[in-house]
């Protein structure tokens, strides 16, 4: 069964460094998302992406964040200058979003630790 994959599973970085989190969505899906979950808190929406552009973003997704689909398979989230409060699990998701269906399929997550 196709699945969303994410790499790395755990990333440790120093404050102020840039990180890139990678995701490979399900191959025939056209809609891509990033969510994050700070330890012990709710899963929060960051950004959605369709047709090579951002379709919606949350207040969390400020200028320090960017997303890209550099080729036909990868979908990346870049944090330019990490802060301590960026420590969280980051989940990628994808969807084919047919007329009546909004199921999203999530990857296993990347745990980002900023020290």
């Amino acid at each position: 069964e196709p699945e969303v994959t994410q790499t790395p599973s755990h990333q440790v970085t120093q404050m102020g460094q840039e990180v890139i989190l990678r995701c490979v969505p399900i191959s025939n899906h056209l809609y891509f998302y990033w969510y994050r979950q700070i330890l012990g808190q709710k899963v929060e929406f960051l950004v959605s992406f369709y047709n090579n552009e951002i379709s919606e973003k949350s207040e969390i997704f400020d200028d320090q964040f960017s997303v890209e689909r550099p080729d036909g398979s990868n979908f990346t989230l870049k944090i330019r200058s990490t802060k301590l409060e960026d420590s969280a699990m980051y989940f990628c998701a994808s969807s084919d979003r047919t007329s009546y269906s909004y199921e999203q399929y999530f990857g296993p997550g990347t745990r980002l630790t900023v020290t």
């Binding site: 998302y33 969510y35 709710k42 899963v43 959605s48 919606e56 699990m89 009546y100 269906s101 199921e103």
Partner: protein, 110 residues
């Protein structure tokens, strides 16, 4: 999407028993989905029920939807230890992002 409110916040049962979780929402919906999250891992889509459906089954899962009461329930029959997880309901209108609440934490003990 809009956040659903799950009830109870926590539920502890023994293996083999049934678990029922409830969800309430405030706005009109196109469909309602249930997701599961095991201990900080990725979310797994369980089942989607459309606004014109009243009940849906998938394996040991049974979902009901009452649009007049703006509520849904998820029943897990013959629970297993592997069902231990947090369960979330999410309803979507036309927006595609999912908004998660705090969920119901289900603990299934042997």
């Amino acid at each position: 999407s809009q956040q659903g409110e799950e009830d109870p916040q926590a539920l502890s049962i023994q293996e083999g028993e049934n678990a029922t979780m409830n969800c309430s929402y405030k706005t009109s919906i196109n469909n309602l989905q249930w997701y599961r999250q095991n201990s900080g891992r990725g979310l797994v889509h369980l089942i989607l029920i459309r606004s014109n459906e009243r009940e849906k089954h998938s394996g040991r899962l049974r979902v009901t939807l009452d649009t007049s009461k703006k509520s849904s329930s998820l029943l897990i029959t013959a629970s297993r230890a592997a069902d231990t997880a947090s369960y979330f309901c999410v309803h979507t209108g036309t927006a595609s992002k999912l908004t998660f609440g705090t969920g119901t934490r289900l603990q299934v003990t042997l």
